[in-house]
Symmetry: D2
Subunit: 163 residues, 4 copies
């Protein structure tokens, strides 16, 4: 193989990689749209999907009075719910239905009424039917509010209709 | 000490135990009332406090459409929120403010729109500033929905005003 | 059905229950013996199996110098190992091979060289291929050393040879 | 300030940053040496400290027959112990004594007799008295064996003697 052949081969491989990556990205976005359309819980909390990538996403939610106690501190359940939604969107980017099996959350700082929380989810592990996802919840100042780890399990069924 | 003296002493001790137990029960109920009055999150989800004892409680919630995805399956965040509220009510029965530090939840069976979920919280351990509480969430048929373990930490402040 | 018939039926049912219970107990003991025979790790730590019941067991271990740091405080790994062994013995009492999938441990009090630790394992949940087991580790004074929760999963294979 | 002044200032700040970083690195290494000297448990398992940085470390251990069951599969307790040691070395790099409070481990693939396991620990969060550390355990082929998350808490005392 000449040096020129090698370059052409590498260029072709690079194009194939890009194509695969674009296809995975398109699938992730289509899955998120399908998940969102069905998810009244996430919709009714005004959770916004900021970014989606295969195995990862960012979701945002603004803390309202009804999510708080009398002192304006957010109930841990709503912080968990935001993180859990981010977990669900991240693990369902492969068009294979996934459900939460086991989750842990550690609370680092309180959130207040009016805070805008971002939940950043990324994939730590995916093997067989199981996956592990880490979600960090931060407020509008970048202060860490909670660290969440979710264990997912695939179930039968796909998110998107077959072509 | 005669046998009669012993009986009188035992009877007196029993009365003191009962008195202490009644006082602890009254304190637990007063704390729950104070916690509830401040907790818009728990109120707005129509969570009912069924029973309160020192270190323990039962809370109930009915699953609504807005807590579900399009298939009528409850979002894990709301199951967590019910369990987390039960955890909060159980660990705050001693008039010493407690907050959640770390929680784990395992999902066992899905909950559906219309299900009435009960969360039973009991104390596993309380030592120094830390406590561990186990919460089982079941539906109206007694089917286990989730197992939750919460780690609490006392903070400054009391729930009830000083006399 | 006469009242006498009813009594005979109840008596027969009671005998069947007892028989089933005795069979389950014999199976649990046979599984524990098979597990022990293969488990060099548990053997080499001089872990003793104190009691076995379907879904439950008690294991004991004495803390040696080699399990400790220079101050005589036991390494958390050995406390975990005792609890994890108890978890394994408890979830493998049904002659269906089970492995640990996910475990959590909370340390409550330090253990010292010479302490005799007991790990009491009991079953919280068993459904489909998954099980949840709670293990409490206490020392010879009854002081709680750690609380452990283990999630098991059945795999192919049995512990005992077919008859 | 002239452009030359700015460059000198930036250069000085860069030198100060480097100095602080070198000091933190020296402290981390001194703490690891002090921790190791006292830790018979880690020593007796032939655990090697491969790398130390502030809040991070890599530890290695070879699986022996005595860590396994009869089929040559490593007991989960020893995988946990390696990860827990890495956690301890990582959170004790600031010369402030830290202990494990709560740990979770997820087993991904079995380890075998003769495997060399590496545990890579890094700091996720450190705030007030609490810290969170993530530890990944891999084998000599790079296969993930377990994911561990440890929650630490500072206690009184330092690792190094005062000058």
């Amino acid at each position: 193989m000449t040096s020129e052949d090698l370059q052409i081969t590498q260029h072709a491989e690079h194009q194939i990689d890009n194509l695969a990556s674009e296809k995975a990205q398109a699938l992730a976005e289509a899955c998120a749209a399908a998940l969102w359309a069905d998810d009244k819980a996430t919709q009714s909390l005004d959770i916004h999907v900021g970014a989606i990538k295969p195995g990862a996403c960012t979701l945002s939610m603004t803390i309202t009075d009804n999510m708080c106690n009398g002192h304006g501190t957010c109930h841990g359940g709503y912080i968990f719910t935001l993180a859990d939604s981010a977990f669900a969107f991240a693990c369902n980017t492969y068009n294979q239905r996934c459900v939460a099996q086991h989750c842990t959350i550690t609370y680092l700082n309180p959130a207040q009424t009016g805070d805008q929380l971002d939940a950043h989810a990324c994939e730590l592990s995916r093997q067989g039917r199981g996956g592990i996802y880490d979600i960090r919840v931060i407020n509008q100042l970048g202060t860490a509010i909670a660290e969440f780890r979710g264990h997912s399990r695939t179930i039968k069924g796909q998110l998107l209709p077959e072509d």
